[in-house]
Symmetry: C2
Subunit: 212 residues, 2 copies
DNA sequence: TAGATTGTTAATCGATTAACAATC
DNA sequence: TAGATTGTTAATCGATTAACAATC
């Protein structure tokens, strides 16, 4: 019985809870309190409880949260208990790294194929996934019912690719190109250069080091 | 003359302004108003002006902001007008992709070397950067005055690596391992699986599509 | 000058924190 | 039962938005 509609800030915290709970589960921890969870993630116990209560009451007074049960709830909320298929456009450094990264399979993401413009790589495979000509992109998406389109191409073609994908029926876009994509379907960006620049900012702005 | 101390939310927006301004500059656009900037990034004009005024008054009434001047200010604020040196721990898929990615050089980030535990890659190079044994990490950092430590290794060793780096005098950590790193130096995380999971959440939660 | 757009103060909105009754 | 910890309401805090005088 969800109460407040989860805000963007809440949603961004869910994967962090999920990651932490997974580690706790691997260590054999059976239950955890909101205050422990908060301590580990730099949040207040109150905030942790508020966050979970956006989706439902998963805890138990005097006991806390059952790790396995909460994990199952989070998997369901985050939709990673179901399989999602994906294709990657761009078989360069980033496309290759994503394809070879085993972590995606753990979250039920299945990479089906890659697409590129470079004739030298078209026809080859990366980690057993075929690389097709990008001209076949729309047809492939329609025929294979692809859920997620991953953009690992140059920024000059990224918006155009997003449009093609959305039109072909893709349901979400994961964008690695350094620009703002606009689309009717949900878009998540991995702007890692932004992240690095944020780091240099922090490094040069440090005044009060909070020792830990 | 800075007014309000920039909050985390403000800082996260600065690289987005920087990216957009760069594109505008490449297109030869000379000046831009806060409302145009806001439109392109999904922010209000008010917010854009508030953001910049955390750092200083870079605009001009009746004219807006000079693109080149604002870019220079942002480069200075974000500290990317100065060179930063970096090393990468982990010469796997992610380490390789970062090393080969040309975008970092544009922001004055210079990757000096990589480190790994795998004897088969130690001694080889990636894009002309040497791969050393991770046992030499602390010595190398001390001798070469490295600014940034990039963690592209397994999560089980990530915290330990961060500790070693910080102790050896690194000034900031860019972490790709899927866990929360704690350190005395600033840490920026690229949790791209979190991002993907956020996408699957959004995909399955879509109720009102806001057409654009 | 008239028009445009900033810098900045005040108002609003939303998110975080505190508090506590409910209950395991 | 006593202790612990949740779910939830109310209070606080901070960030976003609105408004407008200043000025190019």
């Amino acid at each position: 019985m969800a109460k407040r509609k989860p805000s963007g800030a809440v949603i961004k915290r869910m994967p962090r809870y999920y990651r932490l709970l997974n580690m706790m589960n691997e260590k054999g921890i059976e239950s955890v309190s909101s205050s422990t969870l908060g301590d580990r993630l730099g949040l207040t116990a109150s905030q942790v409880r508020q966050d979970f209560n956006c989706f439902g009451g998963y805890g138990q007074q005097g006991y806390g949260y059952n790790v396995k049960k909460l994990l199952a709830e989070l998997r369901n909320i985050l939709a990673i208990d179901r399989e999602h298929t994906a294709i990657i456009v761009g078989a360069g450094n980033i496309g290759k790294a994503i394809t070879r990264f085993e972590g995606l399979a753990k979250e039920n993401i299945k990479i089906l194929a890659l697409f590129d413009v470079n004739q030298e790589v078209i026809g080859k495979t990366i980690a057993d996934r075929p690389i097709y000509d990008v001209s076949e992109l729309a047809t492939y998406i329609k025929e294979h019912n692809v859920d997620i389109g991953i953009i690992a191409a140059r920024k000059s073609v990224a918006q155009e690719l997003a449009d093609t994908m959305a039109e072909a029926g893709i349901r979400g876009i994961w964008n690695f190109a350094p620009l703002e994509i606009s689309s009717d379907v949900p878009v998540e960006n991995v702007h890692f250069v932004d992240s690095l620049i944020t780091l240099t900012y922090k490094m040069e702005t440090e005044d009060d080091n909070d020792e830990d």
